[in-house]
Symmetry: C2
DNA sequence: GTCTATAGGGAGATAGAC
DNA sequence: GTCTATCTCCCTATAGAC
């Protein structure tokens, strides 16, 4: 990775912060939160175990930065998948389920961190800001799917369940008994499941409307 | 449980193993896998930090025993919920979604452990045996919902998605922005979401059947 | 079967040199 | 900004007394 002329000096130009986040994410993908430590991340980045503390006050801060970066990347992946899915609103929303599953399986991203680690105080907020971006993206897609008279709160509930479905599917796949090799197949099944849920949801809304 | 003549010696009669699992689960609920240690579990149980090693060869073995116990308890809760839901197959299956959500929110059970920790070798098998029991329970309920001509593999896919949906919903709730106080409400929404998914799934099967 | 004691290691975080 | 060195704490696991 490093050029031959700069033997092994690593991150002298202020990109250590970014490098630490990158290596932190890689470590999380390999070992999960349990195997995460500042010392290991530093070693991966080719710096001493003290260096990270110039950029992050403590372990939690680095962890939170990694979590935020992961969520941001996932958000981007979902937005792009919706973009490429064409004009049909249901297809666009369902496509995000496939993208999420694909992202998690391909990157073995620190999902346990993002959704199972209890960040405290300010770090919690940092992470939730990125989660908010993800939710907003899905809200926009969901609004296009649901009838106009559905309230914002009900749309949010719907988005929450859509995300849950996909998230649950992807995380179970990661650790479960099913072979995670067939990424395309799993992503496709996630899309189908999302469509099933959307279909059922719309049908219920319609039925409630015609027989109150 | 202990006889009156043995005042308060804790776990002198071979029930330390069970006590350790119980305290281990409680610790997992409070701190997650990250905060789990044999030493803390021992302290909680009122024994020295060396005592657990008479009952479990190492930390992973205790962890696996806790995970298996949690899954077993969840399985029992789902089975009971289905039992009490009445005769309608869809209602019985959907009820398990509510029970799962309720269980996770009430016990703050070590969900991260069960579905995010990578058990090695023999421990992995121990945990998967209990997961299998859970899956079998759901398979039976799903078979009653789906048409008779649906293959076992397709039923398994369906069960997998049902479980994923509920699992994702419950885990997002645990760490997300939504107030986990309203357990009844969340459980009810989980049931509705499960119904939506089942409805959509059955509709798709029907449509595929009539227009192949 | 449980205790005390301890070896051994890893990791968080800080101090001061460069 | 990064290094070396170090302090401190906690945890895993074992040894040997009772």
């Amino acid at each position: 990775m490093s050029s031959p002329t700069t033997p092994r000096r690593g991150y002298h130009h202020g990109d250590l912060r970014a490098g630490l986040i990158r290596e932190g994410i890689a470590l999380l993908a390999e070992t999960g939160v349990a195997g995460f430590s500042v010392a290991k991340v530093a070693a991966r980045a080719g710096v001493s175990s003290a260096a990270p503390y110039r950029h992050f006050p403590d372990r939690e801060a680095l962890l939170a930065a990694c979590a935020a970066a992961i969520i941001a990347a996932i958000t981007d992946a979902l937005a792009e998948a919706a973009e490429q899915a064409g004009p049909d609103p249901v297809g666009r929303l369902a496509a995000t389920a496939g993208a999420y599953t694909r992202y998690v399986l391909e990157h073995r991203a620190g999902v346990d961190l993002v959704y199972a680690h209890d960040f405290a105080g300010p770090h919690r907020q940092t992470v939730q800001e990125q989660s908010r971006r993800l939710t907003d993206t899905l809200m926009a897609l969901a609004s296009a799917v649901l009838p106009d008279d559905v309230s914002s709160a009900d749309t949010a509930d719907f988005v929450y369940v859509c995300l849950s479905t996909t998230h649950g599917y992807a995380t179970l796949l990661l650790r479960g008994t099913r072979p995670p090799q067939d990424i395309d197949g799993h992503a496709a099944r996630a899309v189908v499941a999302a469509r099933d849920h959307i279909t059922g949801h719309l049908l219920r809304l319609h039925d409630q409307d015609t027989s109150p």
